[in-house]
C-alpha cells in the first residue's frame, strides 16, 4: 500500500488509504537504554578509585603541610611560603586561560570580516589573519613588549626587556613569573591590530598588511598600552593624568587602549584607501555591498562574545576573591544590552531587524563595557551596552553617508563605542569599586553615581590624546605607503577579486571556475593559447 521515500512512508496513490498514527501505537524506543548493572558497578568503582587517588594528591598540592610553616601565626588569612607561590601560580593559570580566550577572538574577527566580504575576497581575509598573528607575535616579543611594559620605564615610553626571555638572576632558578603577563598582553596587541583591517577589506594591497603590522605592534600600540597600563605612563598609575578628585585615567580592559586605537588606525586607512568600487552610486549615495555569508559573520560575533570573557574577565590579572567573575557578568550584560539597543534602533529606522546590525550591536556593547567592566556595578552595564547599541547603528549609517567605506563597521563598533565606553566610566564609576580596586586620587564616583565631573573630564582628555597620537601616526604611515608602493589594488584586480589577483586562487573555487575546467575534467595538456591580435 505504501512505499518509502527518503526514509519516510508515502502513499502510493491519492486514493490509497494512508497509515495514520494510532493512539495505541508504540512509540519508537529511545536510543539510550538503561545500562546494565555490571556497567553501573564498573563506573562507580572507577570513579571511587580515581577520587581515592586524586583527592589526597590534590589536597596535599593545595594545602601542602609545609605551607603553614611560612605562616608566622600573626593571624588567620595570612599566607606565605609555598602557599603564596601557589596563589601566584593560580593567577598565572588564569592569565594564560584568559590569553587563550583572547587569542580565540581572532576566529571572531576572521568570521566578521570574511562573512562581510564578497565571495571573491574571502581568501584574502584568511591570509591576513595568519600573517597578522605571526607578525604580532614576533614583533611584540622583540620590541613591542619592551616599549609597552619594559622594566626600564619612562613616562612616555618603556624600555628594556627587548626579546623577552627568562631571567636568570638566581643561578639555576629561572624566573618565569612575567611570562603569563607577557603572553596575555601579546593577545591584546594582536586584537588591536586585527581591528585595524576591518575598514580596509576588498581593496587593500596585501603587502600593506605586514608593513603596517610591524610599525603598529612595534610602536603605535605599545605607546598607548604604556600610557594606559604600565603604571608608569601618562594615563594611568601614580604619575598619571588627573583632574581634581579623579582617580586618574581609567581603562579596565581597553575600550580606549585596544579598541579605540585599532579603530582610529582603521579610520586613517579607510580615508586614504577611498571607497570600494560601486559603494557610492553616481548620485553619491551609499549603496549596500552585501557580504557573502551571514552564518560565518554570526559565528564570528559569538566567538568574539565568548573571547571577551577572557578579554575583560582576565584583565583582573588575578583571581583574588573571584572578582573576575563579577567582571565577566558585567561584560555579558553589556553585550546583551548592545544587541537590544542596536535591534531597536535599526527597527525604528528601517522597520527591519537587520542581522548585521544586531551582530554589530553585540560587538559595540562589548567594546563599550570593556573600559568600565571592573569599575561599575551590574546595574550600569545594561545602560552602557544599550547606548553603545544605539551609537553603532547611527555610527554605521552616518559614516557611510560621510563617504567613508567601512565594510564591517569597525570605526563605529570599535571606535565610537570605544569612546563611549571610555567616557562612561566618568558617568557610572562606583565609589565602592574604586575603593576595592585601590585607585589613586580621591575618587567620589562618576557624574551619575554621586561624584563630580572630574572623572569624565580625565576620560575625555585620554580619548583625545589617544585619537590624536594613533590617527597622526597611522595616517602618516599609510600616507607614506600610498606615495611609495601604493596601498590599493588596481581597478581590474578589485573587480576580479583579491583572492584570484593577490593570492592566485579563489576562496570558493567551484563558485568561479566551471566544473568542466576543474581538475579531472580539464585536458592534461592545455590547448595552444589564443593570443590577442
Amino acid at each position: 500500500m505504501s512505499r518509502t521515500l527518503r526514509g519516510r512512508r508515502v502513499a502510493d496513490a491519492p486514493h490509497a488509504p494512508t497509515e495514520r498514527p494510532r493512539a495505541d501505537r508504540e512509540y519508537p524506543k529511545s536510543r539510550w537504554s538503561m545500562p546494565s548493572r555490571g556497567k553501573i558497578l564498573f563506573a562507580a568503582f572507577t570513579s571511587l578509585l580515581t577520587s581515592a587517588i586524586a583527592l589526597p594528591a590534590v589536597s596535599s598540592a593545595l594545602y601542602p603541610p609545609e605551607a603553614y610553616k611560612g605562616n608566622t601565626g600573626d593571624g588567620a588569612g595570612q599566607i606565605g611560603g609555598d602557599l603564596l607561590s601557589l596563589v601566584n601560580e593560580v593567577n598565572y593559570l588564569w592569565l594564560i586561560l584568559g590569553a587563550a580566550l583572547v587569542f580565540f577572538m581572532q576566529v571572531g574577527f576572521l568570521g566578521l570580516e570574511v562573512g562581510f566580504s564578497r565571495g571573491k575576497n574571502v581568501g584574502a581575509g584568511i591570509a591576513k589573519i595568519f600573517v597578522n598573528i605571526a607578525i604580532a607575535a614576533i614583533v611584540w616579543w622583540a620590541v613591542g613588549y619592551g616599549i609597552a611594559f619594559g622594566s626600564d620605564a619612562h613616562r612616555i615610553i618603556g624600555g628594556g626587556d627587548w626579546f623577552y626571555s627568562l631571567d636568570f638572576t638566581e643561578p639555576g632558578k629561572p624566573d618565569s613569573s612575567g611570562f603569563a603577563f607577557f603572553f596575555f598582553q601579546f593577545t591584546f596587541a594582536a586584537v588591536s591590530l586585527a581591528i585595524v583591517w576591518g575598514s580596509t577589506l576588498e581593496r587593500i594591497k596585501f603587502i600593506v598588511y605586514p608593513i603596517f603590522a610591524i610599525i603598529f605592534i612595534a610602536i603605535i600600540y605599545p605607546l598607548v598600552a604604556h600610557a594606559g597600563w604600565s603604571g608608569a605612563g601618562i594615563f594611568g598609575g601614580d604619575h598619571g593624568l588627573t583632574i581634581g578628585d579623579a582617580a586618574g585615567a581609567l581603562d579596565y580592559a581597553g575600550s580606549g587602549v585596544v579598541h579605540l586605537t585599532g579603530a582610529t588606525a582603521a579610520l586613517a586607512a579607510a580615508l586614504l584607501l577611498g571607497p570600494r568600487k560601486g559603494k557610492y552610486g553616481p548620485d553619491g549615495k551609499p549603496r549596500a555591498i552585501p557580504g557573502h555569508s551571514m552564518p560565518i559573520f554570526g559565528i564570528g560575533v559569538i566567538v568574539l562574545w565568548l573571547g571577551w570573557f577572557g578579554f575583560n574577565g582576565t584583565s583582573s590579572l588575578n583571581t583574588d576573591g573571584g572578582f573576575f567573575a563579577h567582571v565577566i557578568a558585567v561584560t555579558n550584560l553589556g553585550a546583551a544590552a548592545g544587541v537590544i539597543g542596536a535591534g531597536l534602533a535599526i527597527y525604528v529606522l528601517t522597520r527591519k531587524f537587520d542581522v548585521g546590525m544586531l551582530g554589530n550591536g553585540a560587538i559595540a556593547g562589548l567594546v563599550a563595557i570593556t573600559a568600565p567592566a571592573g569599575y561599575v556595578e551590574m546595574w550600569a552595564a545594561p545602560i552602557i551596552g544599550f547606548v553603545a547599541g544605539l551609537i553603532v547603528v547611527f555610527g554605521v549609517i552616518g559614516i557611510d553617508k560621510l563617504g567613508i567605506d567601512d565594510p564591517v563597521g569597525a570605526t563605529s563598533a570599535h571606535g565610537l563605542a570605544g569612546i563611549w565606553g571610555s567616557l562612561s566610566i566618568g558617568l557610572f564609576l562606583s565609589p565602592d569599586l574604586a575603593k576595592y580596586n585601590a585607585l589613586g586620587g580621591n575618587p567620589d564616583g562618576g557624574l551619575f553615581t554621586g561624584g563630580g565631573i572630574d572623572q569624565l573630564l580625565v576620560q575625555a582628555c585620554v580619548v583625545l590624546i589617544t585619537f590624536a597620537w594613533v590617527f597622526g601616526a597611522s595616517f602618516l604611515v599609510f600616507f607614506l605607503l600610498k606615495k611609495t608602493i601604493g596601498i590599493r589594488v588596481s581597478e581590474e584586480k578589485e573587480i576580479a577579486g583579491l583572492d584570484i589577483s593577490e593570492h592566485g586562487m579563489y576562496g570558493y573555487p567551484e563558485q568561479f571556475i566551471p566544473e568542466a575546467e576543474l581538475v579531472g575534467y580539464a585536458p592534461a595538456t592545455p590547448p595552444k593559447e589564443v593570443t590577442a591580435s
Binding site: 560601486g278 593559447e529 591580435s533
Partner: protein
C-alpha cells in the same frame, strides 16, 4: 522584432542598464555565463601547482525590441561595453516571430517594452 543577445563584461552591465532605463527600455534578462573567445585563459598557481581557466565569466544580456529600436539598443551596448581590450564580448541579433504578454493576452510589438509612464513607474 529582434532578440538582441550581448555577451559583455560584468562591469559594463550597470551603465548599459542605466541608459536603457532612461531611454525607456526596462525589459531585459541577464544570465551569468562562462565562455571562451579570443581572450586568453588565466593560469593560476594553487599551493604550487598550476590550474588553467579558459572559460571566463561574462554576463549574457537578452532583450527583445521592435525593429525600429534595435539600433538604439545596439549603440548603447557598444558605447558602454567597449574598453578596447580583448574580451569585451559580442552582440548578436536574432529575428523573433511573435510576442505575447501573459498578463493580458495581448500580442505584437506593443507588448515588448513598458512604454507608458504608469508602466515605467510600476
Amino acid at each position: 522584432m529582434k532578440l538582441v543577445v550581448a555577451y559583455i563584461r560584468h562591469e559594463a552591465f550597470e551603465p548599459i542598464r542605466g541608459e536603457l532605463l532612461n531611454l525607456g527600455f526596462p525589459s531585459l534578462s541577464i544570465t551569468e555565463v562562462k565562455g571562451s573567445g579570443r581572450q586568453k585563459g588565466v593560469t593560476e598557481r594553487y599551493r604550487g601547482a598550476d590550474i588553467t581557466n579558459y572559460l571566463r565569466p561574462k554576463v549574457k544580456l537578452e532583450t527583445v525590441v521592435d525593429d525600429g529600436d534595435v539600433q538604439t539598443i545596439v549603440d548603447t551596448i557598444l558605447k558602454h561595453a567597449r574598453t578596447g581590450a580583448v574580451g569585451d564580448g559580442k552582440v548578436f541579433l536574432i529575428p523573433v516571430e511573435e510576442s505575447y504578454r501573459i498578463r493580458t493576452g495581448e500580442s505584437g510589438s506593443d507588448t515588448l517594452q513598458a512604454h507608458t509612464p504608469d508602466e515605467l513607474a510600476s
